[in-house]
Symmetry: C2
Subunit: 399 residues, 2 copies
Amino acid sequence: MALFTRREYESRLQVVKHRMNQQGIDTLIVTDPANMNYLTGYDGWSFYVPQAVVVALTLDEPIWVGRGIDSNGARLTCWLDEAQIRAYGDHYVQSAVLHPMDYVGEVLDEFNLVHGYIGVEMDAYYFSAYAYQRLVRALPNASFVDATLLVNWVRLIKSDQEIAYIQQAGAIVTRAMYTALEVIRPGVRESDAAAEIFRAQIQGTEEYSGDYPAIVPLIPSGVRASAAHLTWADRRYEVGDSVNIEIAGCRHRYHSPLSRTVVIGQPEPRLAELAKVVVEGLATALAVVRPGALCEEVENAWQSTIQRHGFIKPSRLGYAAGLNYPPDWGEHTASLRAGDKTVLEPNMVFHMIAGMWHDGYGLEMSEAFRVTPSGAEVLASVDRCLFVVGEERYQGATA
Amino acid sequence: MALFTRREYESRLQVVKHRMNQQGIDTLIVTDPANMNYLTGYDGWSFYVPQAVVVALTLDEPIWVGRGIDSNGARLTCWLDEAQIRAYGDHYVQSAVLHPMDYVGEVLDEFNLVHGYIGVEMDAYYFSAYAYQRLVRALPNASFVDATLLVNWVRLIKSDQEIAYIQQAGAIVTRAMYTALEVIRPGVRESDAAAEIFRAQIQGTEEYSGDYPAIVPLIPSGVRASAAHLTWADRRYEVGDSVNIEIAGCRHRYHSPLSRTVVIGQPEPRLAELAKVVVEGLATALAVVRPGALCEEVENAWQSTIQRHGFIKPSRLGYAAGLNYPPDWGEHTASLRAGDKTVLEPNMVFHMIAGMWHDGYGLEMSEAFRVTPSGAEVLASVDRCLFVVGEERYQGATA
């Protein structure tokens, strides 16, 4: 079952080629796994070896280049013709002599693409400094151009089918968050809570299977809740713990992230106070969202609200999210922060995350939303509050 | 609770400094998250932004450099003194103007490390081509040296405490594999099986919590079982399916990987035949393992066995494994393959994986093992056979 129509893939390709043309790029070597997927449908956990999708102005279809044992995966997941699949032998893998980028050079030679301007994603996760050096060596007659984020910016506005998957991810994360709120109890091991959350993320709903999110559940508790990106530990939850939960639902690699904080026992007054401010700040910021508004205006609404209460948040308020692979579900394009003048348009999707860490305490609360023709559609359906867990059941605090 | 003694960290550091000295490196900028962890204990899902550990011959302790919101995580997980923690502001994150590597340059300046030979991990996953360019620009008076795998090679021989964690991971993966063999049944959705497997991986055992493995469960089934690295789909298992299961147990980031294939219903004769050969080949290869043997000798024993039965496996038979982060639990150093003359020593750990994919069918069977003073210690305890699932329960086939 194809996840998107061939027409949709062709239309994505056309937009990318248009931008290549504008930027004077003849051939684009895409190595970001999300961008590879976006253009070809390729989906496999093979990004731990070098691989690429090559888009050339002179070619109708992209070329998939990867490791031999992954070429069947390409045949099964890509819309490309068999003639566009190229695979390197295993003697290229983690070799002291050969490098897969040598082979990419050979493929470009075969397709007559070794001259002109070649775009590469210089700052993509899996495009190492060495891979670039080898590629430059393999293509001595080409001129290299930095095309980081070229495809990412095309991904910023989603199609209706992409939105449908993100909405399904929203349903999945709603279920996963309520699972988290059910399992976090005094005496429960953090890892056992993480296990149940992960299970809910992958099970998804009756109708929609979950895919693996690009980030594992981040659920630091106790003193570790003052840090942003810690995972779980051997410890058991205790009364007095505050647990920050940052998770996502994922459907066919499309994410809908969500954060909440849950407190076991009575929340400290300063935390409860912070939560109230954050709830108000998020609501104010979401109210500003509409086509035509700027990213920085959304953040500014948030910032004015919390500053009125004496708080500041130095890190950005959010970022574009959607299709992705580990280590990040963010798209690295538009951010909700001062200075970002990206104009909101329908079917953009952002994760608005109020992560506030102070000495000794912290709180996370977030919503993923879609820009609609008239405002914001929040993708998950979880009460926006500081959750409080007693001995038996969670309950939403009136924050 | 520190996972290792300070003495152990200091001893690792000493070995790394010794190799730096041998290779003429004054300062090493470590960006591989596993290497950062190995040298400092740092453990957080923050490798989606640039970060580094700096080791200098002139400094007693390394320097941790990361994003502001991750510095509390560094304080909580590293053995380093507070004076060794440096964090960059959020305006460096995904900015069009600033780059975290500019800040790394400033830190090196502060510690008087901007001259001489600086080693960088040119082919590490999260060290992008652009990060390297910015670092070079930030340090105009330094000479750069490729130090890819310098720390990885130090990791090749594990300490007894590291082995203890890997053995615990072996207990975890044993449980997770039996969970997989319990849940894979006709009519079950692949995602629901993945959810139960993942849960078992994270729950671990009563005694040992599981950590997230560096690779999600790879469980392609049906026609997708002919591909190597596909994850799960919406489909439900059917009688006639063959499911390749590749998973790992993980304990404090230390992995013990394991693969088996399970068939629903009667296995095709060619698959059952292949399984018998693979079981024999793995046993033959494991019997060769002992200190003093070469990596290529182990692979050669395997290759001769399967060739005698008319099979070939063009990809390598295995690789060193242990401490790691997504996207790979392999260490990228020694491989069990022709030409690899690494001499086996006690406390090396390998994942020996017989992944055999042919047109329309495939099989995976593997063992992680430790080199002992006299042979090989297999880390998991799962029957080495092609598993066959009926309608009700799994049973090991006599392979």
